[in-house]
C-alpha cells in the first residue's frame, strides 16, 4: 500500500514511475566491474591463522608474488578520530610481519588467469609463528589478554562516555528498573556481487580503477594518498555495483594494491573476490554486547537510561568512518524514539583477532533498537501493561525534540505510525487466535518495534564524532545541453537505490522536462563532481537537496530565457511538458529551443544572462529522522525451536515520498536483511579464530521461502530539515525487523517462562532455552 504526496502540486514527485535504471539491467546489459577483461589477475594469499608472526613467505619459482616487502613506499591505512581516546591503529596493505585475523591478505599472486593465480597461490608457503588469538570482545578486555596493537593498551581502541547532569538522583528516584543483557552476533552484509577491482594503466601515466564501491571519490583521494601519487593520475569508476549495504563503503586494502600493481606492471590487472573471501575477509559487523537498564517512574514513564556497549571491532579500524561507527552511533542514538532526558552510557570499541568491522545497513541501530524494544516489552510485563500502552507513555510527541545526547529530532510521527500499524494488525483478533492456538499446543507471537531512523547526516553530525573526514555534503550539476537534453552529474554513487529515477523526478518537476529525458550521471571521478557517495540513507536527502537547488537555478534561468524569447513577464511563464508557456496564451517555446538560444545566440540576451545552461547546487543538511513501527507475527515450534515469520506489518514515515514504488522496495529489502539478522545470519568463529561459516550454506541470507508477506502503510510528515521534505529510508527495514521479530518470539515463549535476547535467535538457542525451562520444571514437580 502506498500513499502519494497529496496536495503537493507536484507532477512527478510522488509517482511510482518505472525505474530508468531497469532496461539495461533486465537485458543483462548492466556493466559490473568483473565484466572487464584484464591482462593480469590477482589472487590473494590469506592468513590461515588468526594471530601470529610471519617468519617467512616462500614463493614458487618464477611466480610473481607481491608481499609487504615490495610495498615499502606505500603507507598503511590509518583512519583517524580526534575524540574518544581513539588509538590510531595502522593496517598494512599486505600483512607486514604480523597477521591479526584469518583471511588477512599476506601476499598477492599475479598471473594470466584467475585459475592460474589460484594454482600459484596454493603453492606459496607460509611459515607463521602462531600465537593465541582473541576472538571474543570480552576475552580481549580481560586482564592480561595479549595486546593486538601496541598503540591500544588493553585492546580498547576507543571509549565513549556520556552522563547527563543529575542522572544519579533521577535514577535513585525510580519506581522500578528493568535490565536487558543483549548479545548480537556477527554478520556479513553479503552483497550478491562480492568485492571486485580492475585497475588499468594508460600511456599518459594515469590509472583507471573500476571498483565496486559506494564512495568513488573518497577512494581516489585515499588511494592516491597511500600510494603517494597525484590524485589527478587516478580515475575511479564505480560502474554498476551489485549491492553494497555499507560493506562497499570502506576502503579495501586490496584496491590500493591493484592500483599500485597497475602502475608497476604498466598494464591492466583485476581481482574478483570469491564468496569465501567475502565471508571471511570483507568487512563484518554487529558483533556487540549491549546491556541496557531503564529506570521507570510509577506510571511506567522511562526517566533514565543506562547503557553499556562493547563493540568487537575486529583487527583494524575501517576507513573513512573508523571503527567508531558502531559503538559511537550506538551511544548517540540509544534513546531512540523515547522521551528520556537522563542518560548514562559507556561505549567501547574492542580490538580482536577477527575480520575488521565496518558499517552494515543500519549500523548499530538494529542492535540498539532490538535491545531497547526488548527493554520496553520487559518493562511492560513488569508494570502489567500492554506493549503498546508502555510505548504510548514514552514515545516522543513534541517537536523539535532535543535528546539527552543533544541531538535535535525534527517532526516525526512516532505515536501516529504506531497506532496506524496497530490498527492494521488487528491486535485483538490476533490475541484471540493466539489463545486458541495455545490450547492446541501451537505458539504464536506478536512483536512490536517503534524506532527512529536518523538519515541524511550532514557534516556537523560526523564532526560531532570527531571524524577526520566528515562526509556530509553533496554537490550536483544540472545541465541542459544545446539540444534540450538534461544531465545531472552527482557525487552520490547509487547502486540499486534508483537514484537515477528519483533525482530525475525532482528535476522534472522543477523544469518541466519529463524524467525520461533526464540523465543522471554518477560514479566516475572524471565526470561527476566530488562527493561522498551513497550510504547512511543519505542520497535522496542530500543529493536530492543539492539536485533541487541546482534544478531551481536552472528553472530560474529558463524562465528568464523564456521571458526574453516570448516577450512576457517572468511571473507569467509556466514550465511544463518540455516547454515554457505564457499562462493564458498559446505562446510557447520548447526547452530545446531555449537551450539552443542561450548557447548559440547569447548576444540576444544583451549581457543580462550568462551563456550556457548549467547550474550547480550543494547541500549539507543537519539530518532528519524517519520513523516507523514494525509488527511481526511469528509461529514458534517448541519442539525444534523453529520460527516462521508469518506476517509483517509496517507503518513508515519518511517524509515526502519521491517514488512510492522505490520506497517500498527499500523497506522490503531492509526487512529481509533484518529477518536474516534476527533468525539466520551469523558469522561463527571457533576458538582458534577460524571461520566456520565460509559459504552460503552455512552463512544463511534468507530466501523467498523465509520471507512473510509484508504490508506497508505510509504516513508523510514533511521534513523541515530537508529541502525536498524527504527523509531517508534505506535502513529502516533492517533497523526495525530484529526488534519486532525478537519481541514476537518472546511473546510466543511467554507460556514457557523463557526469554531470549540474542540475535540471531536460532532454533538451537531457542530450544536450549526451552530445554533449560523443561528441566527446571521437572525439578520443581
Amino acid at each position: 500500500m502506498t500513499a502519494h504526496t497529496k496536495g503537493s502540486g507536484l507532477k512527478w514527485v510522488g509517482r511510482a514511475i518505472r525505474r530508468l535504471e531497469d532496461p539495461a539491467l533486465v537485458r543483462g546489459q548492466g556493466r559490473f566491474t568483473a565484466d572487464l577483461p584484464a591482462a593480469h589477475w590477482v589472487r590473494f594469499v590469506r592468513s590461515p591463522v588468526a594471530a601470529g608472526e610471519i617468519k617467512s613467505i616462500t614463493k614458487p619459482d618464477g611466480a610473481t608474488v607481491i608481499t609487504a616487502a615490495d610495498l615499502k613506499g606505500v603507507k598503511p591505512i590509518t583512519p583517524m578520530l580526534h575524540k574518544f581516546e581513539y588509538k590510531a591503529v595502522a593496517q598494512s596493505i599486505l600483512a607486514d610481519g604480523v597477521v591479526r585475523f584469518v583471511g588477512e591478505a599476506i601476499a598477492a599472486v599475479v598471473a594470466a588467469s584467475e585459475e592460474e593465480a589460484e594454482d600459484i597461490a596454493d603453492l606459496v608457503e607460509l611459515d607463521i609463528n602462531e600465537t593465541k588469538p582473541l576472538v571474543d570482545a570480552r576475552d580481549a578486555l580481560a586482564k592480561g589478554a595479549p595486546q593486538i596493537h601496541a598503540v591500544a593498551p588493553g585492546n580498547v581502541i576507543l571509549t565513549g562516555k556520556h552522563k547527563t547532569e543529575g542522572f544519579d538522583a533521577v535514577w535513585a528516584s525510580a519506581a522500578r528498573t528493568v535490565r536487558i543483557d543483549a548479545r548480537s552476533h556477527r554478520q556479513n552484509a553479503t552483497p550478491m556481487e562480492a568485492r571486485a577491482a580492475h585497475a588499468a594503466y594508460d600511456a599518459s601515466g594515469r590509472v583507471t580503477l573500476h571498483c565496486t564501491t559506494q564512495m568513488p571519490h573518497l577512494m581516489r583521494t585515499a588511494i592516491a594518498d597511500l600510494i603517494g601519487m597525484p590524485e589527478s593520475d587516478l580515475r575511479v569508476i564505480a560502474p554498476d555495483v551489485g549491492g553494497g549495504f555499507g560493506q562497499k563503503m570502506s576502503l579495501c586494502a586490496e584496491y590500493v594494491l591493484l592500483v599500485w600493481l597497475a602502475r608497476k606492471l604498466k598494464s591492466s590487472v583485476a581481482w574478483t573476490e570469491d564468496r569465501r573471501e567475502n565471508l571471511i575477509a570483507a568487512f563484518h559487523s554487529r558483533d556487540q554486547y549491549v546491556t541496557v537498564e531503564g529506570a521507570f517512574d510509577a506510571s511506567a514513564k522511562l526517566i533514565a537510561l543506562r547503557a553499556d556497549i562493547v563493540s568487537n571491532v575486529g583487527a583494524y579500524s575501517c576507513f573513512p568512518t573508523t571503527c567508531g561507527v558502531e559503538p559511537l552511533m550506538a551511544m548517540a542514538e540509544m534513546p531512540g524514539p523515547y522521551d528520556v532526558q537522563q542518560y548514562e552510557c559507556l561505549a567501547r570499541g574492542v580490538l580482536t583477532n577477527t575480520c575488521t568491522m565496518a558499517a552494515y545497513r543500519g549500523v548499530s541501530r538494529p542492535v540498539i533498537t532490538f535491545t531497547l524494544e526488548r527493554l520496553m516489552d520487559k518493562a511492560a510485563k513488569a508494570f502489567a501493561l500492554d506493549p503498546i500502552d508502555i510505548r504510548r507513555r514514552n514515545l516522543i510527541d513534541k517537536f523539535p525534540y532535543k535528546s539527552a545526547m543533544g541531538i535535535e529530532y525534527d517532526e516525526a510521527s512516532y505515536k501516529e505510525t504506531m497506532e496506524m500499524a496497530v490498527t492494521a494488525a488487528d491486535v485483538p483478533a490476533f490475541r484471540a487466535r493466539q489463545n486458541d492456538a495455545r490450547a492446541k499446543g501451537e505458539y504464536l507471537g506478536i512483536g512490536f518495534a517503534t524506532f527512529s531512523e536518523r538519515t541524511g547526516y550532514g557534516s556537523p553530525a560526523f564532526a560531532a564524532r570527531g571524524m577526520a573526514i566528515t562526509p556530509g555534503w553533496e554537490t550536483v550539476h544540472v545541465t541542459v545541453d544545446p539540444s534540450g537534453f538534461v544531465e545531472a552529474r552527482i557525487g552520490s554513487s547509487p547502486h540499486g537505490q534508483g537514484l537515477r529515477t528519483t533525482l530525475a523526478q525532482i528535476i522534472a518537476d522543477e523544469i518541466g522536462v519529463p524524467p525520461e529525458f533526464i540523465k543522471v550521471i554518477h560514479g566516475d571521478t572524471d565526470t561527476a563532481p566530488y562527493g561522498w557517495g551513497t550510504f547512511a540513507s543519505r542520497s535522496l536527502v542530500i543529493s536530492g537537496g543539492a539536485t533541487l537547488i541546482a534544478a531551481r537555478k536552472v528553472r530560474a534561468k529558463l524562465i528568464k530565457i523564456a521571458s526574453h524569447m516570448l516577450e512576457a513577464a517572468e511571473n507569467d511563464i509556466v514550465l511544463e511538458d518540455g516547454a515554457a508557456k505564457v499562462a493564458g496564451t498559446d505562446r510557447t517555446v520548447t526547452v530545446a529551443a531555449m537551450a539552443r538560444e542561450i548557447y548559440t545566440q547569447t548576444h540576444r540576451f544583451k549581457g543580462e544572462l550568462e551563456p550556457g545552461l548549467s547550474e550547480s547546487g550543494t547541500y549539507d543538511p543537519p539530518g532528519t529522522f524517519s520513523n516507523a513501527c514494525h509488527i511481526a507475527f511469528v509461529r514458534l515450534d517448541p519442539e525444534t525451536g523453529f520460527v516462521k515469520v508469518e506476517r509483517y506489518v509496517v507503518a513508515e514515515d519518511a517524509g515526502r515520498i519521491i517514488n512510492p514504488m522505490i520506497a517500498d522496495g527499500q523497506v522490503h529489502g531492509g526487512i529481509a536483511q533484518g529477518i536474516g539478522n534476527a533468525l539466520l545470519e551469523e558469522i561463527i568463529y571457533d576458538e582458534s579464530g577460524g571461520i566456520l561459516t565460509a559459504n552460503l550454506a552455512d552463512y544463511m541470507p534468507p530466501t523467498a521461502h523465509e520471507m512473510p508477506p509484508i504490508e506497508l502503510h505510509h504516513m508523510e510528515t514533511p521534513s523541515t530539515q530537508s529541502i525536498t521534505k524527504a527523509k531517508g529510508l534505506g535502513e529502516g527495514g533492517t533497523i526495525g525487523a530484529p526488534a519486532a521479530v525478537l519481541n514476537a518470539i518472546n511473546d510466543a515463549l511467554t507460556p514457557f517462562g523463557v526469554e531470549i535476547d540474542i540475535i540471531p535467535a536460532t532454533p538451537q538457542r531457542i530450544r536450549a532455552a526451552l530445554r533449560k525451562a523443561e528441566k527446571a520444571a521437572k525439578k520443581t514437580t
Binding site: L680, M700, T762
Partner: protein
Amino acid sequence: MKPAPFVRHVPRTLDEALAILSQVAGQDGRILAGGQSLVPIMAFRLAKPAHLVDINNIDGLDKISSNGKSLSIGACVRHAAFHKPVVDGPLGKLLTFVARHIAHYPIRVRGTFCGSLAHADPASEWCLTAVTLDATMIAKSTRGTREIKATDYFDGIMSTTLAEDELLAEVRLPMLASDTKFGFNEFNRRAGDFAMASSLVTYRLQGGKIIDAHIGVGGAEPSPRRIPEAEAALNGQTPDDAAFRAAAEAASQAVDPLEDHQTDAAYRRDLVRAVVRRALEYTSR
C-alpha cells in the same frame, strides 16, 4: 574459487568408463555425474581430483525400470526424474514426495540419484531412502559386478564401501506393497538447505496393527540408518499419537548424534524426535 586442474574423460560406454576408471582410480580419479555436490567442493579445492570420468554421455544410464519386484535406478537418473511418480503405487509417490525436498529445482535437474548415494552426505534424502527401503547398490568395475546391501554400504561421513575403481551403476529399491504407508519429514533452517535431521518411515497394517515398520533417520549420525529400537516400539501398535511418540522417543534416544559448533547432541536428539514423529504423522494424513 576455481577448481584445480584435471583431465576429463568422456567414455561412450559403461565398459569404456570402467576401463578408464580402473586406470585413473589410483591417481585420484573420480566419476562426474550431475556434479552438484562434487563441483562445489572442487571449487573450494576441498577435492582436487586429477581425473574426472564424465559419465553423462553414456547411453542408457538414465533409465528407470521395474521388474515388479524392484525399481532399478541408473547412474545418470536425475533427481527431477522423480518430480512425477516413476512407478504406480506407494513407491512412486514416496519418491516424488522425497524428491521435492532435495535442494532446489535447478540442482534437481542436474544432480543424480546414484551420485547422491556415492557422495554419501549424512543429510542426503536419497541415502536415507536407500537405507530405509533396504536398497541394493550395484557396483561395477573391470573386476566385475558386486551387489552391496544398504546396511553394508555406508561407511561414515561422505564415505562408502565402494572401492575406488567401482562405479555405482545402479540402485535397486524393492517395490512396496500396495498397502504400504509412508511418511517423510526433514528439518532445516532455510528452504532447500541440508537437513539437520530427517526421517523416512514405512509400515503396513494388519488387523489395525502396525507391521513391517521401517524407520530411517538421516542427518543425525555420520550415515543414515534404520533405527531398530524405534521400529520395535512401533510394530504391533495401532497407528496413533501415543505409538508415534513412543517410536520417536526411542529413535531420539537410540541415535549417536553428530555434533557441530551450533548443534549439540541434545538438540540433535530433539530434532530426531520431531522428524520421526512428524514422518509418522504423515502416514496417517
